[in-house]
């Protein structure tokens, strides 16, 4: 007998006492919890996102579409970055004012090559206000998972309010599970030394989130 059959057989025998029950899954589980917490206007939701991002030590900037290229240029200059990783379809205007060399991620790029690049700039799929989370789904304006992991400085642009949801339940509704997803809430951190939170371990130690308003974007990636 294969282990598969053995395990499934053991499961069935273990459940011999459980009465046959054909209640559908939807009915079996009451979901009386909230779809979102609190009652907020759209602006308030965006404010909450900014607040919660900052609470977990992300650096938050707010701007509009027109000012965005200048802001990105300044952020990169302040950081002193000479090179910036860009995903395949980053909107070209975002980097139109920036000086540093653009490095394009290629399938053949090795982790060691990525490690030499100082910053990375991406869009995102959605952002969650209640938890201060941005979610990447590997769309062409975000690129492969590794590019937002190896460089030490990540600038993530969120279009507000279109890409902002209030809560975790609303986020899951808009995400596609068949895509590789990375949920990011603040820069890399650890609580492993005396259960106290310290920022900055393996992921980017500086996370800058740019909330950009003022342009109704076309299609959502989510």
């Amino acid at each position: 007998m294969s282990s598969r059959e053995r395990i499934l057989g053991r499961v069935r025998r273990a459940l011999a006492d459980v009465p046959q029950d054909d209640t559908s899954y939807e009915q079996a589980v009451p979901r009386e919890y909230l779809r979102e917490h609190g009652d907020r206007s759209v602006e308030q939701t965006v404010d909450l996102l900014a607040e919660n991002l900052a609470d977990y030590r992300a650096l938050v900037h707010r701007t509009d579409a027109e000012e965005l290229p200048n802001l990105i240029m300044r952020l990169l200059a302040q950081r002193g970055s000479q090179s910036v990783l860009v995903p395949p379809e980053l909107p070209p205007e975002w980097m139109s004012a920036a000086g540093p060399t653009r490095v394009h991620d290629r399938a053949a790029s090795t982790p060691h090559e990525l490690d030499k690049v100082e910053s990375v700039i991406t869009g995102c799929a959605i952002a969650i206000a209640e938890t201060g989370t941005i979610v990447l789904d590997g769309s062409p304006d975000q690129g492969r998972r590794r590019i937002t992991l190896v460089p030490d400085h990540h600038i993530c642009v969120v279009r507000v309010p279109d890409q902002v949801v209030s809560s975790v339940p609303q986020a899951l509704e808009r995400l596609d599970p068949t895509r590789p997803l990375t949920w990011i809430s603040g820069p890399s951190a650890t609580s492993d030394i005396e259960l106290d939170r310290v920022e900055g371990v393996h992921g980017p130690r500086t996370l800058e989130v740019v909330l950009v308003s003022g342009r109704a974007s076309a299609e959502e990636n989510a």
Partner: protein
């Protein structure tokens, strides 16, 4: 079950040693008290905590009651998404599968994300025997590995180490494993974290094989979820060419939507955060992004035996948040090592004896490693009634009865007159005989919790009375505690 902890003394002996170690006690007290207050605050932030907890419990129960169906569905979904599914009935089989998969890649080292399942099966040792080096990459795991130590907490396996000790371990051991610790390393947490970053970086960048567990697996989509903080998980899950995930069969959730419950309750319960820094979700393989070979090893190793126990099976709802450890007065005093298993604390006291059986002294004594104050149940995000299971397991140890071992029904002999009995009694006396150990738990135990006292019935009762075992009080524990000034005026005889 692996032999990692074979030879452990029974709980009271190990706990006694721990209590004598002042540093260990100080470290544990500091860490658990810090996190308790933070967790309470994080939970209070969401007004629907009770509803989330209830939904979490119901989702898990429903899944367990239809586990065969969901396992098959998961297998289909993972396979359709480009992954390969393996089934392992026990630790040895899981280790053999992983060793074989690593050998097929031709590599002799792997990077690992913290995973309870791989610790449970002793995977690192099994790989070592075959000449494959496993690098732990979670900061706390790294501290344990470099210190040639054992984990003592589910979430923070090096919780028993303070910053000074960590500095010393890094300075002494890092050079043995790769890049040495920076010159003049101090004991500030930020510098220690930086030392770990530098030490592990070279390993991440060259790694060809990653090994992980998973917090959740979604049956309908085949998605796996890993929740973490440091980014070492992301490194191991995305940079290698081959990813091998070893996951207990109870980690399934039926639908994608179910994550909306657990992604709210898990971070708040474990690290007391609204959300942990990083969560990775992947479904099979994705062209040009992440590992191109993905293997999922589904692990039984005593889980189906646990599932066969009508009372004890609720332990399989556990999402390993570690909240029950952090509030437990006995854990705080005894330390994680005393539990003799990778699962310490209240959850370990009900899980280990079910996964491994109660043949050894340590496993027979574990259900007694508790004062039954109920604080663990209060904080558990999936409402596992740990005291209920403890009492149930005690009854079975004392009276014997039918259990399932490796899929077969066997009759357990009563413990009377055996070494297990003596170990159990010592554990009970230890847990009850220390008012200081209990006080904290009392504060947290809710007045409203209906604690149904279960004195050992039938022969168990006679056994306990004749042996001066502190049986359970017939009145609510808290009231009994106050009335007797912590048991000082009443030596614990059943009322």
């Amino acid at each position: 079950m692996s032999g990692t902890f074979v030879g452990m003394p029974a709980f009271p002996v190990a706990a006694h040693d721990a209590v004598r170690n002042e540093t260990l006690r100080g470290n544990l007290r500091h860490a658990t008290h810090t996190i308790r207050a933070k967790r309470a605050k994080a939970v209070a932030e969401v007004s629907d905590w009770a509803e989330l907890r209830e939904a979490g419990k119901r989702i898990k129960d429903h899944t367990l009651f239809h586990l065969d169906r969901y396992l098959v569905q998961l297998e289909e979904a993972v396979t359709a998404a480009g992954g390969t599914v393996h089934w392992a009935a026990d630790a040895d089989e899981a280790n053999r599968i992983v060793v074989q998969l690593v050998k097929e890649t031709g590599e002799s080292e792997v990077v690992k994300v913290k995973s309870m399942a791989t610790q449970e099966i002793g995977l690192n040792e099994a790989l070592e025997e075959e000449g494959i080096r496993a690098y732990e990459t979670d900061l706390a795991e790294l501290i344990v590995q470099l210190g040639k130590d054992r984990p003592s907490h589910i979430l923070v396996p090096a919780i028993h180490r303070n910053r000074g000790e960590i500095r010393e371990i890094f300075t002494r051991e890092m050079s043995e494993w790769g890049r040495p610790a920076p010159e003049g390393l101090t004991d500030t947490p930020a510098e220690l974290a930086e030392a770990a970053r530098l030490h592990l970086r070279e390993k991440f960048l060259r790694a060809k094989v990653g090994v992980s567990g998973a917090n959740f697996m979604i049956a309908e989509t085949g998605t796996l979820v890993v929740v973490e903080s440091e980014g070492n998980g992301r490194m191991c899950l995305t940079l290698p060419e081959t990813l091998i995930s070893v996951v207990g069969i109870e980690k399934i959730l039926p639908t994608w939507r179910d994550l909306e419950v657990f992604l709210q309750t898990l971070p708040r319960s474990s690290t007391a955060e609204r959300m942990n820094p990083y969560t990775s979700m992947w479904t099979g393989t994705t062209d040009e992004d992440g590992p191109q070979n993905f293997h999922l090893v589904l692990l039984d190793n005593g889980r189906t035996d646990t599932l066969a126990d009508e009372v004890g099976r609720q332990a399989l709802r556990c999402i390993r948040c570690s909240a029950c450890l952090n509030v437990c007065p006995v854990y705080e005093r005894a330390g994680g090592h005393a539990y003799g298993s990778v699962y310490p604390g209240p959850i370990g006291a009900i899980l280990s004896p079910q996964l491994r059986g109660t043949a050894s002294e340590i496993d027979a004594s574990l259900p007694y490693a508790s004062s039954l104050c109920g604080a663990c149940y209060e904080v558990c995000p999936v409402a596992i009634d740990i005291p209920e299971v403890l009492v149930h397991l005690r009854e079975r140890i004392v009276e014997g009865g039918q259990v399932t071992r490796e899929g077969n029904k066997v009759i357990l002999k009563p413990a009377k007159g055996h070494a297990a009995e003596r170990a159990a009694m010592r554990a009970a006396r230890w847990a009850f005989g220390r008012p200081g150990a209990l006080r904290t738990g009392q504060r947290l135990a809710s007045r409203t919790r209906r604690f149904h006292p279960r004195t050992l019935p039938g022969p168990g009762r006679a056994w306990s009375e004749s042996r001066d075992l502190p049986t359970l009080p017939a009145e609510p524990f808290r009231d009994w505690w106050q009335r007797t000034q912590g048991g000082n005026t009443d030596k614990g005889a059943a009322k």
